[in-house]
C-alpha cells in the first residue's frame, strides 16, 4: 500500500479565497479522505440582532457576506416584511430585482475568475474580473457602494434609479452580453479547461437532491430548482427559467453559472422595460411579532433567514443558513478519489463562502 500523507489545506492557502480547513489524506497524489473544519471567522452577527433595532439590522445582515451582500439584506427585509405584513411598492420590488441580478452577475464573474485561477488559467481570471468591474461600476453608480450596496430597507429601498440611468444601463447590456459570450466560449470550449473540469467531482441528480445541495451545485446535477421561482421581489412578473445541466461534474456547475449570467442580463433587461412608476418605499411602523423563514436565491444557492420577533424593536432570534453550509456534504462526497491537483477546482466548484457560513 502506498504511504499515506496528510496535507493540510487551508485555512490560509493561496488558492482558497476564504478560510476553510481541509485535512487531505493522500496516497501519492490521490485523495482518499478529507476532513473539513470551519470556525475561523465567526463574528457573532446573529447575536447582534438582539442589540440592534430591526430596521438597522439590515446593515448588519448585508455584511454577512461581501459578495452576496445585497441578497442577505434583501432576504432579511423580506422576512421582516412577511412577519409585519408590509406591502412593498412595485417599483421597490423591481429595483431590488435589478440590484439582486447585478449582484449575481458580479458574484458569478468573481467566481469564474477564482475558478480559472484554481485551474491555473491566470489570464481567464483577469478577464473575468475585468468584466466584473463593469458590473461594479453600475452598482456604484446606482447605489453608491461597489460591493456593499446598502439600498434595501424594511418597506422598500433607499435609493431610486432615475429613468435616464435605467436606459443607460440597458444600453450597455448588449455589449456586456457579447463580452460574456466570449468568456463563456473559453470556459466551455477550451480543451485545456475541458480537460481540467470534465468528469470531475460528479454528483448525480438524485444524490444531489438527497444531500440537500443548493444553488448551482444542485442545478449542475440536473435538478432545476431555483428559489427565485418562489416569486419574491419581481420575479413572479418576469419570465425566466432555472438553468440546469445534467452532467453533475465541475464542468456542469461552471456551465450553470455561465448560463445564469445570461439569465441575469435578461432579467435586468425585462425589469428595466417593465419598471413601474411610483413610490419606492412605505412607512413601516410598529415592530415585528412572529416568525418567518425567508428564502432567497443567492448566487451560491438558496439562503434561509429565520427571523423571530416578539413585538419589540429588537428581534429575539435570527438564524441564517447559508448555501455554502448546505453544499459541504456534496463537497465531502466529491473529493475522495480525486487528484491533489483537482482539489482546488472541486472545492471552488461549490463556490464556498465561508464568512457567510460562519456569520
Amino acid at each position: 500500500m502506498p504511504e499515506r500523507i496528510v496535507v493540510p489545506f487551508g485555512p490560509q492557502h493561496p488558492v482558497l479565497p476564504e478560510p476553510i480547513h481541509l485535512d487531505l489524506v493522500l496516497e501519492d497524489e490521490t485523495v482518499v479522505d478529507v476532513v473539513p473544519s470551519i470556525g475561523y471567522i465567526h463574528r457573532g452577527l446573529e447575536k447582534l440582532v438582539t442589540k440592534r433595532e430591526y430596521p438597522e439590522f439590515v446593515h448588519v445582515a448585508e455584511r454577512i457576506c461581501g459578495i452576496c451582500s445585497f441578497m442577505h439584506g434583501m432576504a432579511y427585509v423580506q422576512g421582516i416584511e412577511a412577519i409585519m405584513d408590509v406591502e412593498v411598492p412595485d417599483r421597490a420590488r423591481y429595483l431590488r430585482t435589478i440590484w439582486a441580478e447585478c449582484s449575481r452577475l458580479h458574484s458569478h464573474l468573481l467566481w469564474l475568475g477564482l475558478f480559472a485561477d484554481a485551474m491555473g488559467f491566470e489570464n481567464l481570471f483577469m478577464r473575468s474580473w475585468q468584466l466584473r468591474e463593469s458590473v461594479l461600476d453600475v452598482l456604484e453608480d446606482t447605489t453608491g457602494g461597489r460591493v456593499i450596496q446598502g439600498t434595501c430597507k424594511v418597506g422598500g429601498v433607499r435609493r431610486d434609479i432615475k429613468g435616464e440611468k435605467l436606459s443607460d444601463i440597458q444600453k450597455t447590456l448588449p455589449e456586456f452580453e457579447q463580452q460574456c459570450r466570449d468568456l463563456t466560449d473559453v470556459f466551455l470550449n477550451d480543451e485545456s479547461v475541458k480537460y481540467r473540469l470534465g468528469g470531475l467531482g460528479v454528483i448525480g441528480k438524485s444524490e444531489a437532491y438527497d444531500l440537500g445541495a443548493a444553488g448551482p451545485t444542485l442545478r449542475g446535477s440536473g435538478v432545476d430548482w431555483d428559489a427565485r421561482c418562489l416569486g419574491y421581489a419581481a420575479y413572479a412578473d418576469l419570465d425566466f427559467k432555472p438553468v440546469s445541466h445534467p452532467a453533475g461534474d465541475c464542468y456542469a456547475r461552471c456551465a450553470v453559472r455561465l448560463g445564469e449570467l445570461f439569465t441575469s442580463i435578461d432579467l435586468i433587461n425585462q425589469a428595466v422595460e417593465k419598471m413601474p412608476e411610483g413610490p419606492i418605499d412605505v412607512k413601516v411602523t410598529g415592530a415585528p411579532d412572529g416568525e418567518y423563514f425567508c428564502r432567497v436565491e443567492q448566487p451560491r444557492g438558496e439562503v434561509v433567514h429565520y427571523l423571530k420577533g416578539d413585538g419589540t424593536k429588537h428581534l429575539t432570534r435570527a438564524r441564517v443558513r447559508t448555501p455554502t453550509l448546505a453544499n459541504i456534504p456534496p463537497l465531502v462526497k466529491m473529493l475522495p478519489g480525486c487528484q491533489l491537483a483537482d482539489v482546488p477546482v472541486i472545492v471552488l466548484s461549490i463556490d464556498p463562502c465561508i464568512s457567510c457560513t460562519e456569520r
Binding site: P14, V15, M119, F121, R127, R196, Q339, A341
Partner: protein, 286 residues
C-alpha cells in the same frame, strides 16, 4: 580560446540577459492580461530584495543543494557556450535539477515533497525529447559538439521540424509555464502553494531565481542551434519562440502531471522519433 571566452561571457552576461528576459516576459504577460505590469527591471529588484532577507533555514542541507543546483546550471550553460559536447551538457543540466529535487526533499513540508515528486516526473517527461533533439542535431551536422553545430551551414530546422516542435513542447515545461507549470509556477497560486520552492526563502530562493535566468538563456541558446545557419534568423526565431511560449502560457489552464508526462513522451515518440526516422531512412542523413 574562443570556447573559454564564450563560457566567460555566459557566466557574466547570462544573469543580466536572463533577468531582462524575465522582466520583458512579465510586461508582455501583463499586457496580454490587460494589465500594465511591473517595470522592466523588476526581476532584479526582486532578487536583490531576496538577498537582503534574513537567512531562515530549517535544514541547512538545502543551502548546499541549491548552491549545487546553481553551480551545475552554470556549468552546463558554460559548457554549451564554450561549444562543448551536447550530451555532456544535457547530463550536467539534468544533474543540476536532481540537486534541486534533493533540496526540496531535504525539508519537511508536504508541499515541497509533492513539488519534488512532480519535478522528477517533469524531468522524466522532458528528458527523452531533449536527448532526441541532441541526436537530431548530430544527424544533421555530424557532431555532438555545439561549436561544430553552429559552424555547420546545414539548415537544421528544415530537416528537423518535428524535433523542433517537440522541443518547444518541453520548453514549456522547462520555462515553468502553463499548461505545464505543475511542480512550481511563477506565483504561489496552486494547490501545492509554490511546489518545489515553497520552503526556500531569502538568498536561497534568490539563487533559484538566478539559476532560472541562466537556465532560460541556455534553453534559448538551444533553440538557436536549430537556426544556427543564419544568425539573424536564429535571433528572430528565439524571440518568436519565447513570445509564443508566453502566448501559450496565457491561453491555457494548468494540466495535471499525467498530461505533462503524456505530452513529453508523446511528442518525443511521435514528432521526435518520426522526424529522426525520416531523416535517417528516407533522406539518408545529410
Amino acid at each position: 580560446m574562443n570556447g573559454i571566452l564564450g563560457a566567460l561571457l555566459f557566466i557574466i552576461l547570462a544573469p543580466f540577459l536572463g533577468g531582462l528576459i524575465a522582466g520583458a516576459d512579465r510586461i508582455l504577460t501583463a499586457r496580454m492580461q490587460g494589465r500594465v505590469g511591473p517595470p522592466l527591471l523588476q526581476p532584479f529588484y526582486d532578487v536583490g530584495k531576496l538577498f537582503e532577507k534574513e537567512n531562515v533555514v530549517v535544514t541547512t542541507a538545502q543551502n548546499f543543494y541549491i548552491l549545487a543546483y546553481l553551480a551545475f546550471i552554470i556549468v552546463s550553460g558554460a559548457l554549451f557556450f564554450a561549444g562543448g559536447d551536447l550530451l555532456l551538457i544535457i547530463f550536467a543540466f539534468t544533474l543540476a535539477h536532481v540537486f534541486l529535487v534533493l533540496g526540496a526533499y531535504a525539508v519537511h513540508s508536504p508541499y515541497s515533497h509533492i513539488g519534488a515528486e512532480r519535478e522528477l516526473i517533469q524531468i522524466m517527461a522532458y528528458e527523452p525529447m531533449i536527448i532526441l533533439s541532441a541526436v537530431g542535431l548530430y544527424l544533421v551536422s555530424g557532431s555532438f559538439y555545439v561549436g561544430d553545430i553552429i559552424a555547420s551551414t546545414v539548415p537544421a530546422i528544415l530537416y528537423l521540424p518535428g524535433v523542433f516542435l517537440g522541443f518547444l513542447t518541453i520548453l514549456t515545461i522547462k520555462l515553468r509555464k502553463s499548461p505545464f507549470d505543475i511542480s512550481t509556477s511563477h506565483h504561489a497560486h496552486q494547490e501545492i502553494v509554490k511546489g518545489i520552492t515553497t520552503e526556500f526563502s531569502g538568498a536561497t530562493l534568490g539563487q533559484v531565481e538566478i539559476a532560472h535566468w541562466y537556465e532560460n538563456v541556455f534553453l534559448l541558446g538551444f533553440v538557436y542551434l536549430f537556426f544556427a545557419f543564419n544568425p539573424i534568423l536564429g535571433v528572430v526565431a528565439v524571440i518568436v519562440t519565447y513570445v509564443a511560449e508566453i502566448f501559450i502560457d496565457n491561453t491555457t489552464a494548468r494540466l495535471r502531471w499525467q498530461a505533462a508526462l503524456q505530452s513529453g513522451w508523446g511528442v518525443a515518440a511521435i514528432l521526435g522519433l518520426f522526424n529522426l526516422a525520416v531523416v535517417v531512412y528516407i533522406i539518408g542523413g545529410v
